[in-house]
Amino acid sequence: MTTALETPPTGTLRDALVARLTALADDELLLGHRDSEWTSHGPLLEEDIAISNLAQDEIGHAVLWYEVRARLDGSDPDDLAFHRDPEGFRSCLLVEMPRGDWAFTMLRQFLFDCYEAEALPRLARSPYPPLAEAAAKAHREELFHLRHAGLWVRRLGLGTEESRSRALAALGVLWPEVGGLLAPLPTDADLVAAGYLPDWEALPGAVVARARAALGAADLDPGRDPVVPAVNARDRVSPQRAELLATLQSVARADPEAVVW
């Protein structure tokens, strides 16, 4: 049993933790943002309400991670979200992609939920208390997310010919990008070595296995395992990231003097 790390990390370890937290937060913010694009455009009134819950949950997780980072380096979450240039973001392409059709959004949410279901319990065992507490809080919602995601995977895969073909088309685009989500940042190795991220190397395999099992139960075969690169620096500005952030930041950036929104 590892003892809690009482003093906050300094130097390169601190920078590594800041990077990891930024990646966690940016993924949640961008995913929540894409989910929120469905509001008032959902296929059923109840689904509009549902996707709005998921969007709030994911953005709420982003706030949790930005706040843990703020305790380390004094950064401001709103400043990070609304005034950081796209080059400074550490999101992965999976969450940056546009919302697509309902199959695309539900399957992306499902894949991200598989990832959170494996990442959060591991982070909740981190000996660095702020990280562990935030992970435990986010993990509470995960059980419901998995239930909801599972419902949609089954109805897409086992519904109509059209829902099946849309689901397979979505997986064709999403599944390869799971690798980018799962690949470690260049500095994650330092955190793993120092004990901050328990069992982190097992994460990619666990996520892929979990996802494949649920998809298989819905008669959906995503194909070969996604290639997980040795590292993903996440510093490339995809056109999708640029487009998303241009919208997200447009009002805030239009009045840089504004202090209170």
């Binding site: 549902a50 059980l143 419902l151």
Partner: protein, 173 residues
């Protein structure tokens, strides 16, 4: 399909009729009920029942037509029924409350038994639902399904206090 939704606010309190949701099947309806009625506190449990599986009678209907009779009469195996009752005209956001369970051979027999066992205060409306027709959230899921809503204070009016403009010096009244 339409499903009536019942929500329990806290352990020990009765399930109350809060409205209905549309859903294609029991699981879909149950999750929709959580999405619609569990997005703010307080809740620990939701039940859904197909709307056409509810036997509903108001006091006026019972007075006019007498107690309803089941098509099959007294025949059949006894099953469990949940009985719900409206007791007051007071303004509320919920309709009928779960007041107890009855074992009976039909909805109608269950209602008759509930009326017979009822106290002196007149019921304003009754609903009877077969326990087998109910799809329920798992109490063990409450920490995930319902608890996180408590922390979302940004959408709770109590978190806002009184909002008033500050008077700027020199501004016209």
């Amino acid at each position: 399909m339409r499903w009536e939704v019942f929500k329990q606010d806290a352990p020990g309190k009765p399930h109350q009729a809060v409205g209905s949701v549309h859903g294609a099947d029991p699981e879909h309806a149950l999750l929709n009920a959580r999405h619609v009625f569990g997005r703010r506190p307080a809740a620990v449990s939701v039940w859904v029942v197909p709307a056409d599986r509810v036997l509903a009678r108001t006091a006026e209907e019972l007075a006019a037509e007498g107690p309803p009779r089941a098509a099959g009469g007294d025949a059949g195996q006894a099953r469990r029924f949940h009985v719900f009752r409206k007791s007051s005209h007071r303004r509320s956001m919920t309709f009928v409350d779960h007041v107890g369970d009855v074992d009976a051979v039909s909805h109608e027999a269950a209602l008759a038994a509930a009326i017979a066992a009822d106290g002196p205060e007149p019921a304003l409306a009754w609903w009877v639902v077969a326990a087998d027709d109910v799809t329920r959230s798992d109490p063990e899921d409450a920490p995930s399904w319902f608890e996180p809503a408590r922390d979302k204070t940004y959408k709770q009016q109590s978190a806002y206090g009184t909002v008033t403009p500050r008077r700027e010096r020199g501004a016209a009244p």
